[in-house]
């Protein structure tokens, strides 16, 4: 067993990326993710990689666009407003089929919002965020341990299927400290095979072009459809989720990240008080575990989505369940964290009073 360390989520994420073979980082300061560039600034040179504090988020993502095109595992991180700025570049990366890791340590929005943890960027993360038809592989860690170990999975998927991967965390997970074990395999970039599309020293081979456009009639469609094949493979092979106490559940909570942690607490309260409730936690937000949710809805007829946003993931849950069960919502926008008691109260109203809850919690 690896030695346990007490680490901040943001630092675990940075170290996890390094251990997964990341050797280039570009970013720009923004709370609550500042520990990521801070950590990378000294750690990258120590492992023979490169770090650049970019002049803007826009520039940072384009440095990543260039770095990824050379086949080097690379990463940028930011928080909500900064991730908005990166969307154009992210769309180009998706359009040029480049693997990379981007982390969004979400804060309150819209606009400047505030710097506390929030989950308001779910749509942006899972719907593409930038322009055009594309997908991003999105993983939602629920604590420091997953921050440490998800970069490995993100890079594996990103490199295998050639698309950007995202760690979608929030200010609470980024700032908190927990014991952490780096259990994911360590990747030495020297052992990675250079991709056959990577730009570099060509030694007589034919030139390579990395680009996201094709102006010839019908060719862009071909390019997109070829990409869709890989998306379908990801949907088939890479979905991850966690289930807790669903076996006998009469109601299932659906939550990710920090709100999944609160839901666990609410579940314990409810179980103590006689409500048979379980938790379904999507770990990949795209691809969303819709088939498993559909299966569960054959048996469980009530669902409660718990999220720190106005009601974003709830739409994916509704699409998955497609009317086969009642979908309720406990939504908490504005970068506030719901308490376990609050969630329990909602559960109680649904289960004991037969209420249908679909409101933003006060």
């Amino acid at each position: 067993m690896a030695e346990k360390k007490l680490m901040k989520g943001n630092e675990a994420l940075a170290e996890g990326a390094i251990k997964a073979g990341c050797r280039f980082f570009a970013g720009y300061p923004i709370t609550p993710q500042n520990e990521v560039p801070e950590y990378m600034s000294w750690r990258m040179p120590a492992v023979g990689g490169a770090f650049v504090q970019a002049e803007s988020e826009v520039s940072a993502i384009n440095m990543i666009y260039g770095a990824a095109a050379t086949g080097v595992r690379c990463m940028t991180s930011s928080s909500s407003p900064g991730v908005s700025l990166k969307q154009e570049g992210l769309s180009y990366c998706a359009g040029a089929d480049l693997p990379l890791l981007i982390a969004n340590v979400m804060r309150g929005g819209p606009g400047l919002g505030n710097i506390a943890g929030a989950q308001g960027d779910y749509w942006q993360a899972t719907r593409g965020g930038g322009h055009g038809d594309y997908r991003t592989f999105v993983m939602a860690p629920n604590g420091v341990n997953e921050m440490a170990n998800f970069p490995h999975k993100c890079f594996e998927v990103a490199c295998k299927y050639r698309l950007p991967a995202m760690v979608l965390a929030d200010g609470i997970i980024g700032q908190m400290m927990e014991p952490v074990e780096f259990t994911a395999p360590e990747v030495d970039p020297k052992n990675l095979v250079e991709p056959d599309w990577a730009l570099g020293i060509n030694n007589g081979r034919a030139k390579r072009i990395v680009k996201s456009y094709d102006l010839r009639e019908g060719y862009l469609e071909k390019m997109v459809l070829e990409r869709v094949k890989r998306y379908k493979e990801i949907e088939k092979n890479e979905i991850m989720y966690e289930e807790k106490m669903l076996e006998d559940a009469e109601i299932a909570m659906v939550a990710y990240g920090t709100s999944a942690r609160v839901s666990v607490a609410a579940m314990k309260l409810a179980r103590e008080r006689g409500i048979k409730v379980g938790l379904f936690r999507p770990i990949t937000l795209w691809p969303f575990p819709k088939n498993r949710l559909a299966e569960l809805s054959n048996r469980i007829k009530k669902f409660l989505v718990v999220e720190m946003s106005l009601g974003q993931m709830v739409e994916d849950v509704q699409l998955s369940i497609n009317g086969a069960a009642q979908v309720n919502l406990h939504a908490k926008p504005g970068a506030s964290v719901m308490t376990a008691e609050e969630v329990y109260t909602t559960l109680e109203r649904i289960v004991k009073k037969g209420a249908k809850e679909y409101a933003v919690a006060k």
Partner: protein, 248 residues
């Protein structure tokens, strides 16, 4: 029969899409000749901009990347930091470099990124159809200033060489033109110096090249000298040629 000159190896043998009288074709060829002469083609990575030169990724016979508008210097930074042995150039127009990409070019110079920038200044947006550029002259007509640019409404043309010369990190900056044969030769020499600066690891280099856009300038296409005359009589007054940083 003696072959006096041939297509540079660094240039792909395909017809270019540029308009008659445009300077891009000349500048592409000069860049390719310099790559051949410095024997760097196989380790060069070029960046194509958004704008008329978007297809530069097709024309140059080296590894190429095409990316977002104005972000060439940022892409170049990522590439160069990951592949320090590669020779990296960013090919940009005036809208790309001096308007939307102003932050990226300035900060690449501030960091003294060891890259080469080829900046084609024709004082107009070509690809989108003749809109005002950041380098459009006062009085010059464009589709977004149909009566000619006025300082009151749109400010003044920006001089990039002069601006970047104030930055400690810029190593070599020169402004040339391709409107005359001597200008073409001087441009080639400047490009060679710029790439050599990078090969020697000396930091940021840029050649700003005044170029013609007969199509969008509204000059008569049956009289190419009108466009070259505009460079000579008008542009060079606002954008004086010369070395702004580094060895003359």
């Amino acid at each position: 029969m003696q072959l006096l000159n041939k297509r540079p190896e660094s240039l792909v043998d395909v017809p270019m899409h540029y308009c008659p009288g445009c300077g891009h074709g000349i500048i592409h060829r000069l860049t390719a000749e310099v790559m051949d002469e410095l024997n760097i083609r196989e380790r060069t990575i070029g960046i194509a901009p958004v704008g008329c030169a978007v297809f530069a990724d097709t024309y140059f016979n080296c590894d190429m990347i095409q990316g977002p508008h104005g972000r060439g210097p940022a892409e170049a930074t990522g590439i160069k930091r990951c592949k320090p042995g590669a020779i990296v150039f960013s090919y940009q127009g005036d809208g790309d470099l001096a308007s939307i990409g102003m932050a990226e070019i300035v900060h690449a110079a501030i960091r003294s990124e060891n890259i080469t920038v080829i900046f084609v200044n024709n004082a107009i947006y070509g690809m989108t159809g003749g809109q005002m550029a950041p380098t459009t002259l006062i009085g010059q007509k464009a589709t977004t200033c149909v009566e000619g640019r006025t300082a009151k409404q749109a400010g003044y043309p920006i001089r990039m060489c002069e601006l970047l010369a104030t930055i400690d990190g810029s190593t070599y900056l020169e402004r040339t033109s391709v409107h005359t044969a001597p200008g073409v030769l001087k441009t080639k020499a400047a490009l060679k110096k710029a790439f050599q600066t990078q090969i020697d690891g000396k930091g940021f280099s840029m050649v700003e090249i005044l170029s013609m856009c007969p199509t969008n300038w509204g000059t008569r296409l049956d009289n190419p000298s009108e466009a070259t005359k505009y460079v000579n009589d008008d542009m060079m007054k606002v954008f004086p040629l010369g070395v702004y940083k580094g060895e003359k």
